[in-house]
């Protein structure tokens, strides 16, 4: 890999190889990102003049009656959304991965089926579930009746108390394939000798899993956790498709992504506000950055990666 270069000039061919990627990435990702963050410190005056206002936008976002209640609710809802993924999606993903890793003749088949919803568009998934849960069609109710739980059915998507959890679970249903496949890859990477030794010592499958396999896949647990976090705090499509930009009923499914969209583009009675939109995006950026840094310094550093 080492390639000592004789000339002192920066070699032309290296610049040629790097230039397109660096240019596109810088121009269409890094600079807009920095500009968006910068815009959150400005206000648009008349005639589209930008004027610097310091942290004024942030103070408005946290305290102004027009923004603060929405912001805090979206933030709380987003944490609920994330919690449902951590508590439901990732454990189910781990369970399915553990079962798949046991082997069996049909494992490729199961793997393919369970991963399938992940590749479909969130828009399609959102509409499919809206139809399935629609009391008019009665498919979900019919299914529940078939297993004797007909009485449980309700207009879950329409009630403020249940809408957020329902939407979260639909997202779980779609994306469970990702933790499953990552855990599965980690589990099949564990050499047989390690588990064989435990089995000879009389450990049950349950013990072998929690005492030997799980500690070995802890790095993957961390990766799944941070991927879930970034994905959830960046989510938008599902709520927008199922509940519109107003994230109804009564803003009960509003998360940071929908709040950002509404603040930036406006809604029926309220004009869009680019600088406040940029402020919401900057908060999303800070939240995601905090998550990534916590993961890097508190988790990835402490969890030992075993050389297998």
């Amino acid at each position: 890999m080492q390639q000592p270069r004789r000339q002192f000039r920066f070699p032309v061919h290296i610049a040629v190889f790097l230039a397109p990627a660096v240019l596109l990435y810088t121009l269409f990702m890094v600079i807009p990102l920095i500009n968006s963050l910068r815009l959150s410190f400005f206000e648009i005056q008349n005639q589209n003049q930008l004027s610097f206002t310091g942290l004024q936008n942030y103070i408005r976002l946290f305290t102004d009656a027009n923004f603060a209640p929405f912001f805090w609710r979206a933030l709380r809802n987003n944490f609920v959304f994330f919690a449902v993924h951590m508590l439901v999606q990732n454990p189910i993903g781990l369970l399915l991965a553990a079962l798949l890793a046991e082997g069996g003749p049909l494992r490729n088949f199961f793997r393919t089926i369970i991963f399938m919803p992940t590749v479909l568009s969130v828009v399609i998934i959102g509409f499919i579930w809206q139809l399935i849960l629609n009391p008019l069609w009665g498919v979900a109710e019919g299914m529940l009746e078939a297993i004797g739980l007909g009485a449980w059915f309700g207009p879950w998507l329409g009630k403020p108390e249940t809408a957020l959890i329902t939407v979260s679970l639909i997202s779980v249903w779609q994306f469970v394939g990702i933790p499953m496949i990552l855990f599965y890859a980690a589990l099949i990477g564990i050499p047989d000798e390690l588990t064989e030794a435990a089995r000879v010592d009389g450990a049950t499958g349950w013990e072998t899993f929690w005492r030997i396999k799980f500690p070995l896949i802890l790095p993957t647990v961390g990766i799944v956790g941070i991927l879930t976090f970034v994905g959830n705090f960046n989510a938008f499509d599902l709520i927008y498709t199922m509940k519109g930009a107003n994230a109804g009923p009564d803003f009960s499914t509003d998360i940071m992504g929908t709040l950002f969209y509404r603040t930036f583009f406006g809604q029926q009675l309220q004009l869009g506000n680019p600088t406040m939109g940029a402020t919401v995006a900057a908060m999303m950026f800070l939240i995601i950055l905090t998550g990534v840094l916590l993961y890097m310094f508190l988790w990835a550093r402490r969890v030992q990666t075993y050389e297998l």
């Binding site: 070699p11 269409f28 069996g104 590749v119 828009v123």
Partner: protein, 282 residues
């Protein structure tokens, strides 16, 4: 060891448990999609009267597909999605491979810093820069063009592509490249020689780049919402918004939007899943 009848039943329960659980979960994963597919071929009466049955000769109807082809510009949406996805994919692979080659092949000053700079985008979603991107697109006059979308998607896909491809390129034997250099091949020629050797990695990244682009709603909605530049995902989203009460049309348009991705997935799923598991094991 003695086996009592009860322990034997317990054993067989334990043996079949994984299959049972996986089967139940597969049904949960498949059921909603199957419901949409089979009901899209039924008359309105049958959709509501007998949603759980396959279409029969009496209930079979293509009325929904007729409405969709009459009312929506699906051909245009498909064409837009295909152009955006294909061009963005080719550019990502080519530009990404070039940068990955530079980072993995040459030991130039600032290499590590450049690698770090390019990998920030793996964790920070490009959506957070939307306000800046829209302003940039307005000033470049790229609003409501497919070019604008393509540029965004390439920028979005580059960080992960470069990261993964440089790992693969490091595994190409050095002797091969040195032999070519002795024969007087240019560095560009050597890059061209490496590309076929990492074809599996290019294929895997290709699939993972394609799916989010095809499925994206955010940027088509914000950068190119006009009916001439709408992608399938946006087109379906808007069409469904207008035809909410026409169940035949809704089910048919959902089916039409799912079919291309489902076919691709069925064709490539083994390869795709194998590439994730292979990458993660390393």
């Amino acid at each position: 060891m003695k086996t009592t009848p009860s322990s034997r039943t317990w054993d067989s329960i334990k043996r079949f448990m994984p299959i049972v659980v996986l089967t139940i979960y597969s049904i949960i994963a498949l059921f909603p999609v199957v419901m949409i597919l089979i009901n899209s071929f039924k008359s309105r009466k049958a959709i509501f009267g007998a949603p759980f049955t396959f279409p029969t000769s009496e209930t079979f109807s293509l009325i929904g597909y007729q409405t969709v082809t009459d009312r929506a510009d699906f051909q245009i949406y498909f064409l837009n999605s295909a152009i955006v996805t294909f061009v963005a994919l080719i550019l990502t692979l080519l530009i990404g491979a070039m940068a990955a080659f530079a980072l993995s092949e040459y030991d130039f000053p600032g290499n590590a810093l450049m690698a770090l700079y390019l990998s920030i985008g793996i964790m920070i979603p490009i959506r957070l820069g939307t306000v800046g991107i829209l302003r940039l697109m307005v000033s470049l006059k790229l609003v409501n063009t497919l070019t604008g979308l393509i540029l965004i998607y390439v920028a979005q896909a580059l960080p992960l592509t470069i990261f993964i491809l440089s790992q693969f390129m490091r595994q190409v034997p050095k002797d091969l490249k040195d032999a070519a250099r002795i024969d007087g091949a240019s560095e560009y020629r050597i890059f061209g020689m490496i590309l076929p050797l990492i074809r599996p990695a290019l294929g895997a990244i290709g699939i993972f780049t394609m799916i989010p682009i095809w499925n994206d709603l955010w940027f088509p909605l914000i950068i190119s919402p006009s009916s001439k530049t709408a992608t399938v995902t946006l087109g379906v989203q808007q069409f469904l918004g207008q035809f909410v009460s026409d169940w035949n049309a809704v089910l048919s348009s959902l089916t039409l939007a799912m079919i291309p991705i489902l076919i691709l997935y069925i064709l490539f799923s083994q390869q795709m899943i194998r590439s994730i598991t292979a990458g993660a094991v390393k």
